[in-house]
Amino acid sequence: MATQETSNFSRRGFLKASSLASGGMLIGFNLFTACKPKAEMPIDISKLNFADFNAFIKIAENGMVTIFSPNPEIGQGVKTSMPMIIAEELNVSWKNVIVEQGVLDTNNYTRQVAGGSQSIRFGWEPLRQTGATARQMLINAAAARWGVDASDCVAKDGVITNGKGEILGYGDVVTEAASLEIPENVELKDPKNFTIIGTGAKNVDIDGIIMGKPLFGLDYKVEGMVYASVLRPPAFGQTLESFDASDTKEIPGVIDVITIGEKARKLLNSENPGWSVKLCNSDKVVVIANSTWAAMKGKKAIKAVWKIDTPLEDSASHDTELLHLLDGNKFRTMRSDGNIKKAFARADKVLERTYESPFLPHNCMEPMNFFANVSEDKVKLVGPIQTPEALATAVSILLDRKLDDVSVEMTRMGGGFGRRLYGDFAIEVAEIADAIRKPVKMVSSREDDMTTGVYRPAIKYRLKASIKDGEVTGYQLKEAAVNGNMYGLIPNFFPAAAIENYQVDVASLKSNITTGAWRAPYTNFLSYAEQSFLDELAEVLEKDPVQMRLDLLQKVKGTKDDRIQYSPERLEGVINLVVEKSGYRTPKKGVYQGFCSYYCHNTHVAEVADVVMENNQPVVKKVTVAVDCGIVVNPLGAINQIEGGVVDGVGHAMYGDFNFKDGMPDSNNYGSYRLVRMNEAPKVDTYFVENNLSPTGLGEPTLPPAGAAVSIAIHKATGNRIYKQPFIKNMEPKEVVG
């Protein structure tokens, strides 16, 4: 099977079974070791114990199955969909499955991370193998008891039957099964026989969510816990000079005021600071109180004096410098095909456009928060984090503890969007807990969260195409971005390989503003730039924009270029589906449709946005989406991700605006920062390309094309191209045309 090439593992290496003292069987598996290409278990397999596993299936004597799902849940639905895959191959009925969040194991795992829409893609094969192996062990146990051949037995809905019509439940044979050899080469089900995968399973936490049960980090509480509010520098580039906390200490409920930062700086300067590089290097003032409110009030009452450590930056100067980079020659070439210079020199016509975006905050609805309790021999951390292992490592360095003495417990997360990849806030609370030696929870206010965050960097793209004899002969993409550039594979996305002379060049501007991954990093803005450009290019060529894409894809078919990430056939599939379902070829009067197609995060997507003019303003009414993500594990969850990704993409392209002046953000809460609301949310119609290919992720891929589809539709409605986000500030609706 082709997918096994990318997940080269041995079942013996990642599975272990044991009987439980309480009755029943426990199967442990190290999912993320199994997923890693050419996985090697870190220690001798014969000496493995259950501490080396990060995910478990427990089968009780009553036949109930508990699956401990290993991956962090940030709203992307893996706590439901990953166990569904196991249950499918295990042949149990979904109603007899209980799902629990797996306990964190900071040993020996490589991908207990939520990010990059990768959980399902990497988990697919090992999760199936795990379920199928457990199923085979149960069948083998039943066959041994009956004295028949295992091949005469069939398992279905948690029950094993043999050729003679005898029946045993899974629970009846768990004890024997646990002591059996782990079988190799188990047979996976034919996808056409799936009974759980492909059916809509509801969010496993739905009851807790609708009843307001404590699920999130902010809800976590232990006896004797105190609350902390952290005052950080108001501007990037500042550090603390002095402070006066006398008013704070008068506030009822305030227990103490301390400073932290020394240990964090030591960590920042260590050999392996990891994610902690997002930490601010200043001392911070911490108010400890007996309630969140008292802590927040206490923080407001501190009179702090800040000094300038590094220059305070402005978005206006970033704009100038990024454009200067685009005009200059300090580029790093990430992909170069043919001879772009010659193509431009020989062109009949050249089209060149520049696209610009602001910074963006993540704005998770649950503000950053974390719990810590530090004692002589243990460090306990609890809260919402996308990268628990990186956090444990950082805290072990921070507090000079052994990694084994640091435990991280994940809670449900009130949104991630990339922000919770970085554990700066959790490192802070560890330093606080170490200082006060009491269980403590740090809670950021919305203002703290928005103004001392990690941001999607401001980026500018310049796109240039050469046209010769009515054909595109050259294509050049230049990126100028704050703090870093597009990573590895992106230069090999469409239209790479479709145009003979093709080049991607990048340049970066260093800034003291912390930046990082934001839902669909780089592609969240790149898609808008490229797809808008391709639409304008089609207009210049007097070609239909859909046909132009299809013609370009035709040239990629059969390519020998193994760097190419997308499949021309699959992109063609989503394009044809969205054109059919959106009524793109039979437009309605007064409805302006913008088409685009995009591949990122291993999933192929095409979208058509419907815009109408109301009071001379463009309004996005509907977005039709066609998705090829292979097998759809949980359609109910998948559609939710797709709808959310599209509306999020439309919202941030339309309204997302975040800029700096003297190192300070220009918004600090939802009064000044506009997020999309229900009135502005388009209806989303989703269609899947049906196939039996291995599933790919959905947390990100529908977001990037949404802004592009909307800008193209707005151009049709108003006659104006938009080259800058947010659209609301940069579109000039004129009389309706078209």
């Binding site: 992307q76 997360m413 969850g637």
Partner: protein
Amino acid sequence: MATFNLSINGKSHTVDADSDTPLLWALRDHLEMVGTKYGCGIGQCGACTVHVDGNATRSCLLPISSLEGKEITTIEGLSLDGSHPVQQAWKEVDVPQCGYCQAGQIMTASAFLETNPKPTEEEIKAAMNGNICRCSAYNRIQKAVAIASEKIG
């Protein structure tokens, strides 16, 4: 510090806190009712919505000193078992992604349907516009409110 008597979910509770403490934090930190969520603290996002005498109200802006004699309902008291038609509709549609804003959404929707049990699509959108869902599950929220309206019948 002072003592305040609050009537929450049909029961009387005593809170010993500063008079300006918002109901949100009294619920969360003093009364162990954490279903009501903190989102912005300035009444802009709706995550902290509760009912005060039946009206959907932002608890982050409501000092406990102003609440004596008022009947407060939180998500924990909307029903004891998740059986309120709005909660049932939420489950039927499988609305939540991260789930953090959902209690506030449900409290806004339930108070709204009390005053307007048969709303139009536009009325639903207008009523729910004050509640931000960062995961943008707006299509499903809208659908769930419509289904809840049918259930209330």
